[in-house]
């Protein structure tokens, strides 16, 4: 196990505090000091602050293992998963702020779930079998093993919202579906069980709220905690949608 060389630093966590439900509240930065412990993550640090210093501090953690996507926040200016951010990789002064773009619940907590649901409804992010029914008693349909792996690769998205929060387009234009939405389209387009054609996908993302809104700033690609190949997938989808949109 990696030993920490600076395990007893005094950390200063500068957290953005704001409760939008309170009419007279103003956004401010509150600083908490605590002693760093070996192996400390921002999950551990924030939990300790809530337990020992300030029980009112709002933030979201669920799995605390980097797999559920609840704890996306701006860590020293960049979106990331707080639960798997180890404090020893950060300077002693740590600035924390909620992910922008999403509805703010309070302090570091944002409502990514609500937006993601809306995105899923809009883009119909499920396999469209187009009326084909499956007899569950029969052997399943075969699928190319390599293709299954490719679909899984794109299915690894945890909807943490980091890509959207880092996206210049989304920040300016609220209806943009973001890398998360475009990646999902690429995932379903790849999946042979989804019977939709490019003409169908064009109806979903063939406009400036979809793939043509993307300005290729690639912050999404750079901050994605799951290292999804967003750059490649969006470029691929763009080519397919341009082809679809310009033919005939």
């Amino acid at each position: 196990m990696a030993e920490t060389s600076n395990s007893h630093r005094k950390l200063r966590i500068h957290a953005l505090r704001y409760n939008p439900a309170k009419a007279d509240d103003t956004p401010r930065i509150q600083t908490y000091e605590l002693e760093e412990a070996p192996g400390m993550t921002l999950f551990i640090a924030l939990s300790e602050i809530r337990e020992k210093q300030d029980p009112s501090l709002q933030f979201d953690f669920v799995c605390r293992a980097g797999i559920c996507g609840s704890c996306g926040m701006m860590i020293n200016g960049l979106p990331g998963l707080a639960c798997r951010t180890v404090t020893k990789d950060l300077p002693a002064d740590i600035s924390l702020a909620p992910l922008p773009f999403f509805e703010l619940i309070g302090d570091l907590s944002v409502n990514t779930g609500k937006w993601m649901r809306g995105m899923s409804e809009k883009l119909e992010t499920w396999v469209h079998s187009m009326g084909q029914s499956t007899d569950l008693k029969r052997i399943e349909e075969a699928m190319d093993p390599a293709l299954a792996e490719e679909v899984y690769e794109l299915d690894r998205c945890i909807e943490c919202g980091c890509c959207v929060a880092s996206c210049g387009t989304a920040r300016m234009r609220k209806d943009f579906v973001g890398a998360v939405g475009l990646n999902k389209m690429a995932r379903f387009r790849l999946d042979p069980r989804d019977k939709r054609t490019d003409a169908d996908f064009y109806e979903l993302v063939g406009d400036d709220n979809g793939v043509f809104g993307c300005m290729s700033l690639l912050a999404c690609h750079d901050v994605c905690p799951k290292n999804l190949p967003l750059q490649t997938q969006i470029a691929f989808l763009r080519r397919k949608m341009v082809l679809q949109g310009t033919k005939g």
């Binding site: 192996g39 029980p55 799995c63 180890v86 649901r117 396999v127 349909e141 299915d155 998205c157 989804d194």
Partner: protein, 658 residues
């Protein structure tokens, strides 16, 4: 008073709740899901290694059937499971996997031809059949005779919940996120829904439904060291317990997973060992074969966890600054395998330990992992004592896991139970007689009672600190109600937990807001969690035998003569500090697989008086129907009548066509 009406109220947006809601909705009933968090963030997502279903596609799974899966599961449960329910489960599991395949889960698939795998520390070449090419693959898991665990790399739960949650969206099932059920509305015999608090605004409202289903997962967070997500606090269990009517079954049956990373307790999948990973001690010695020559690293979880702790007690653990641990060595699996089939494991090791598992060993130690106990239901998923209340998944004691669950059987249970209970709950709602006449006065009474309880935290003048109490409870549970249990420790734990419960009744808040307030949430949850902790500790203290994951050092033998029965805990009065325990015997004379040795673990146990006779009867039937496994099964223990009609029927396999 705000009231939301629906047909089926599902509390919990994990795999079980989602699948159940989809089932009910597709049968024409309105379903509404309450969830503490966005559905896809539920703890189902954390399931890594896979889902058991006897498809038998891979070479090492050839010959697998429901029968083998059934026996593995019952043995795994140490005969604590309801065998009829296990039968329902094993027959539905292949259908569940295939349904999920059609819905879009990117299951890992079989590649025909030769491939190299690691078995028992050796490189072995396996040849996959041509006809299996492209079908769903299986990997090895603990406590199973065949390779049966279907998987999507090591993000199986993730892939499953993505797919199922998206299906729920496709079916326009509303998920009311960041809502918490505070209590069930009931009149002592019938459940009418729940009192619900909005975690963003703090608003308390009533959700009234024909049927209410608790699908809230486990209660791991009553322990300090757990693989469970922070939301797994057993609140679903608690609100069922607090009705005073519905019972919790077998709460003392708590599973410890062998490989939680040390010290954080984050899970690394059983797939690590299933795929050939080894457990090593301070000397780099592979010690499991010394204890378990048959199954080695792949004995059931309770056994492996116990052997690890036993080995550490012998001074063979690796000593680190945080305490002692064992090493999990997957370096022998090779870089390619780890980067394709164990990538979440790689991520976790990389981010949380700074360890590259391709090159280095992973520090692990058993951590609380699974709550076998839960809301007691009949095979249809309904509470036998509170009409209109259903439960499915980890929250339920249905009871297919008994005293120990096999790896890969829990995600399988979530969707299988969701499929089955989704149908039975729809059947229930179909009947006009079951549509309740809602006593609005009662609804209001429940809402006001909860509001008063919340107000008491902010205005009651209490001085106790909620998170301190919670911390003491967690430490106590991990120290005294862990893998090795003794009467002395358990009594001490029960005593201290009772005191904590009393203290929790005078909690005061430092930030007295009724809106979004994490401290308030901790306050009302810790009161409920203590009741769950007490149900576990007290149940464990009374059960003077060892069975599955419940191991008493002072009573190391399984005692079927006295303890082949299910613990039922109820909480009779709000002023009580202990649950009331009752016991429901398991009927040996109806068992398809009478109690015996599990095939791993301790060999000595005390037989139930009915066992020898039943064993003889079973053998006779087996001999009589030797040629037809379906007829044999039917003669041994008919169960199909318990399954919803749409889910009945044989499962096709490469080697078994119909």
């Amino acid at each position: 008073m705000k009231i939301v009406y629906t047909d089926v109220l599902v509390i919990g947006g994990g795999l079980a709740g989602l699948r159940l809601a989809i089932g009910a909705k597709r049968r024409g009933h309105d379903a509404l899901i309450l969830s503490l968090v966005p559905a896809k963030r539920s703890h189902s997502k954390a399931a890594q290694g896979g889902m058991q279903a006897s498809l038998g596609n891979v070479a090492k799974g050839q010959g697998d059937t429901e029968d083998v899966h059934f026996e593995d599961t019952v043995r795994g449960s140490d005969w604590g499971a309801d065998q009829e329910v296990v039968r329902m489960f094993v027959n539905t599991a292949p259908k569940a996997v295939r349904e999920l395949a059609a819905w879009g889960v990117p299951w890992s698939r079989v590649r025909k031809g030769d491939r190299e795998v690691i078995i028992n520390g050796q490189k072995v070449t396996i040849t996959e059949r041509d006809e299996a090419h492209g079908l769903i693959a299986q990997r090895d898991f603990g406590g199973t005779k065949k390779w049966r665990t279907c998987y999507a790399a090591d993000g199986t739960g993730h892939a499953m919940i993505n797919t199922v949650a998206d299906q729920a969206i496709a079916d326009s099932i509303p998920v009311h996120e960041r809502k918490e059920a505070l209590s069930l509305i009931h009149d002592g015999s019938r459940c009418y829904g729940a009192v619900v608090r909005d975690l963003i605004t703090g608003e308390v409202s009533a959700y009234v439904a024909t049927a209410t289903a608790i699908c809230t997962g486990g209660a791991g967070r009553v322990y300090r060291t757990t693989t469970n997500a922070v939301i797994c606090e057993g609140i679903g269990h608690a609100i069922a317990l607090e009705t005073g009517v519905s019972a919790l079954g077998n709460m003392e049956a708590v599973q410890f997973h062998p490989t939680g990373i040390f010290p954080a307790g984050i899970l690394v999948t059983e797939g690590c060992r299933g795929d050939g990973g080894l457990l090593k001690d301070v000397d780099g010695h592979r010690f499991m074969p010394d204890y378990e020559p048959e199954k080695k690293e792949l004995a059931s979880r309770d056994v492996v966890s116990r052997r690890m702790e036993e080995h550490i007690k012998k001074g063979k653990g690796h000593k680190s600054r945080f305490g002692e641990h064992i090493w999990l060595d997957i370096t022998l699996l090779g870089e390619k395998h780890i980067h394709t089939n164990l990538r979440e494991v790689w991520d976790i090791c990389h981010y949380f330990l700074g360890v590259d598992p391709v090159k280095e060993m992973i520090p692990v130690r058993p951590a609380q992992h699974y709550t076998m106990g839960g809301v007691r239901t009949d095979p249809s998923g309904q509470s036998p004592t509170l009409k209109g209340l259903f439960s499915a998944g980890e929250a339920a004691c249905w009871d297919m896991h008994g005293f120990n669950r096999l790896g890969g059987n829990s995600v399988a249970e979530t969707v299988v139970a969701g499929m089955i209970v989704g149908e039975t709950i729809a059947d229930y709602c179909d009947k006009l007689a079951n549509t309740p006449t809602v006593p609005l006065g009662l609804v209001r009474e429940f809402v006001e009672r909860e509001q008063a309880k919340l107000a008491a935290f902010t205005k009651g003048g209490g001085r106790e600190d909620a998170s301190l109490i919670k911390g003491e409870m967690q430490d106590l549970m991990t120290a005294k109600v862990g893998i090795f249990r003794t009467g002395k420790d358990l009594e001490e734990a029960v005593d201290k937990l009772q005191k904590l419960l009393v203290r929790s009744r005078s909690i005061g808040l430092r930030s007295p807001s009724l809106g979004a307030n994490p401290e308030l949430v901790t306050a009302y949850r810790v009161q409920r969690m203590l009741k769950i902790a007490l149900s576990i500790a007290y149940g464990a203290a009374v059960r003077t035998e060892s069975r599955g994951a419940h191991f008493r050092e002072d009573f190391p033998r399984r005692n079927d003569a006295e303890w082949l029965k299910r613990t039922l805990a109820t909480w009779k009065s709000e002023s009580d500090t202990l649950p009331t325990l009752a016991y429901e015997p398991l009927d040996v004379t109806r068992m398809e697989l009478p109690p015996g040795w599990r095939g791993y673990g301790a060999k000595d146990y005390i037989d139930h008086p009915d066992t020898p006779e039943r064993q003889k009867a079973v053998e006779a039937i087996r001999a009589q129907y030797a040629s037809d496994r379906f007829a044999m099964q039917k003669a041994l223990m008919p169960y199909e009548h318990l399954l919803p009609e749409v889910l009945r029927g044989k499962n096709e396999r490469i080697d078994e066509r119909f």
